[in-house]
């Protein structure tokens, strides 16, 4: 049997595709925001779009939310076409944009009721879905949304996005600028929502959050670098990563960069990650080299890569902007 037929058989028996994106491209004036993006998100998945500002995450989400037309390609949400069926799509999706976009001079309660009414429902109807989130801001229900703290605004926005029990929830960088504790709590809320059979597409510039998703797409400059489970993305990474530590971080980085075999040397928390040209380096030689440079408490060991290591390596194949090209 030819490969194409086998592929069809496999996909036919596979899970239902809640989001299907085929060759979507979009440009603004002279900026190519998305280049032939294709992606599938399965029903009930928690899917992450991971990439820095300007990667095209928001553009892609706005196309899926029927707020922006693609230049070419097609996309379907629960089988509905984002251009032809835009009205139907709006009833089955919940959207939390990156910028706080509720009514600042309506109260918490008024915002929630407003969104319920717009979607032809009542807050009570799907209250079980938002209870866990809304009860945390309920003590402030008469406060104007504009006067809430960042964390509370986020919870209100999420409540409003869920008020009509959407099949698909799309969240654009919900954790940007949020402290580590609130970020953790937010992801716990998403995990709970996932159990209630909502398909979730979430974008983030924080690479460590990739590990909280079922699958992720790494995206950079409008192109997808890779799509897979976070575990497989790091497992299939072919490079040898060596983790190094000593008492003097700045000197360590500079010394390692000066080493003849060095390819990339970057700080990763308390360690430095070192890759060498053609991966031709032994931990023992780095040890000796650093001792020669009088480093103290040296640690050199080979480690499994993380998502950031992979992302940084995949970025290399993309040309970086030079100032004369702007």
């Amino acid at each position: 049997m030819e490969a194409a037929k086998i592929f069809k058989l496999i996909t036919a028996t596979d899970h239902y595709k809640m989001i299907q994106i085929n060759n979507i491209s979009k440009s603004y004036d002279d900026v190519q925001a998305l280049t032939e993006i294709s992606l599938k998100v399965e029903k009930g998945e928690l899917f992450g779009l991971i990439g820095p500002d300007g990667a095209g995450k928001t553009t892609l989400m706005r196309i899926l939310m029927t707020l922006l037309l693609p230049d070419s390609g097609e996309a379907k949400m629960d089988g509905l076409d984002v251009i032809k069926d835009f009205k139907k799509i709006r009833h089955i999706v919940g959207y939390m944009p990156g910028r706080f976009s509720l009514y600042q001079d309506l109260s918490v309660e008024e915002n929630l009721n407003f969104f319920a009414t717009v979607f032809g429902t009542k807050v009570e109807e799907n209250y079980d879905l938002i209870r866990d989130i809304y009860y945390q801001i309920e003590p402030f229900k008469t406060r104007r949304a504009g006067k809430l703290s960042g964390g509370m605004k986020q919870k209100l926005a999420l409540s409003c996005a869920l008020v009509h029990k959407p099949k698909i929830l799309v969240l654009d960088e919900p954790t940007t600028g949020v402290d580590a504790v609130s970020r953790k709590e937010f992801w716990e809320m998403l995990k709970k929502l996932q159990k209630k059979e909502i398909t979730i597409l979430v974008s983030t510039p924080y690479m460590d959050e990739a590990n909280l998703c079922d699958r992720v797409a790494l995206i950079q400059k409008g192109k997808i670098l890779d799509v897979d489970s976070p575990k497989r993305i790091t497992e299939k990474f072919p490079r040898k990563i060596i983790q190094v530590r000593s008492d003097e971080m700045y000197r360590l980085i500079n010394n390692l960069r000066a080493y003849e075999k060095a390819e990339s040397v970057f700080a990763f928390g308390q360690f430095v990650h070192f890759t060498s040209i053609d991966d031709d380096v032994e931990t023992s030689e780095l040890d000796i080299y650093l001792e020669k440079h009088n480093h103290k408490n040296i640690l050199v060991e080979e480690i499994h890569p993380g998502i950031e290591d992979v992302f940084m390596e995949l970025m290399k194949s993309e040309p970086q902007a030079k100032s004369h090209e702007l």
């Binding site: 990439g51 820095p52 500002d53 300007g54 703290s149 960042g150 964390g151 940007t176 600028g177 949020v178 402290d179 580590a180 504790v181 609130s182 970020r183 953790k184 510039p205 924080y206 690479m207 950079q220 971080m249 700045y250 980085i253 970057f266 700080a267 990763f268 928390g269 308390q270 950031e308 992302f311 940084m312 970025m315 902007a321 030079k322 100032s323 004369h324 702007l326």
Partner: protein
């Protein structure tokens, strides 16, 4: 070690709300000092006071050798400030922004020209000199904003969440600049939500509900809280 910032019993109240509740700490010359805390813990309030933008309710504070009550203007001349929210004028060019900041800090045109050429070369931005800030990639803006903040060679630079939203390589290149500045004797006072960046600091303070709950080197904090990394330390303190 020489102290560059001393803070003793700093209190700031807004009505009945105590945003800073008797903060006491010192920052040493040339160190990278991480100032962490959950949203709303009181970090920004404290930074605003130390930069001379807000007056404290009580306490004794000295920044770069000057008193925060009586010598605010001298403090401002001796510090640099950069935040993610505001740093450069989007509708001025790269060169115009540098000229503007140099002018504000009273740097002579001759010195400005020398330093500008040097800076643009170092940042590999010579051919972007006459481009508007608005059209630059975010990573470039951040690097330039930092360089402008230390253009007048301040004793201390305050960085309020400087690195949000950029790719992992750009974020690390930014930290290369921070290390370099600290190595040149500029004290770096930095807030961040990236806990791996907390590891890059010489010492870290963690605020919770207006108070400093912990202050030490990342290694000692991890030991004390029996944590693998700073993320775990932070979550134990701030949760």
């Amino acid at each position: 070690m020489e102290k560059i910032i001393t803070v003793k019993d700093m209190v700031k109240k807004f009505g009945n709300f105590v945003a800073n509740d008797h903060l006491t700490f010192d920052v040493y010359k040339g160190e990278i000092f991480g100032f962490l805390g959950a949203n709303g813990a009181g970090k920004t309030t404290a930074i605003r006071i130390l930069c001379g933008l807000s007056s404290p309710t009580s306490g004794e504070m000295n920044v770069a050798g000057f008193d925060v009550y009586r010598e605010i203007e001298k403090i401002k001349k001796n510090i640099g400030y950069m935040s993610q929210k505001f740093s450069l004028y989007e509708d001025l060019t790269v060169a115009e922004n540098i000229r503007f900041y140099a002018g504000i800090y009273g740097i002579s045109p001759k010195k400005r020209k020398e330093k500008m050429a040097e800076l643009l070369k170092k940042l590999e931005m010579e051919s972007a000199k006459n481009k508007l800030i608005a059209g630059l990639p975010l990573g470039w803006k951040q690097k330039l904003a930092f360089s402008v903040a230390i253009f007048h060679e301040p004793k201390i630079v305050f960085l309020d969440e400087p690195t949000g939203g950029v790719d992992p390589v750009t974020r690390r290149k930014f930290w290369d600049l921070i290390y370099e500045a600290a190595n040149n004797g500029i004290t770096v006072f930095v807030t961040t939500h990236y806990m791996d960046e907390a590891e890059y600091c010489d010492r870290v303070s963690i605020m919770e509900a207006g108070k400093i709950e912990a202050l030490d080197t990342p290694a000692k904090l991890k030991e004390r809280y029996n944590a693998k990394n700073m993320d775990e330390v932070f979550i134990q303190i701030a949760r």
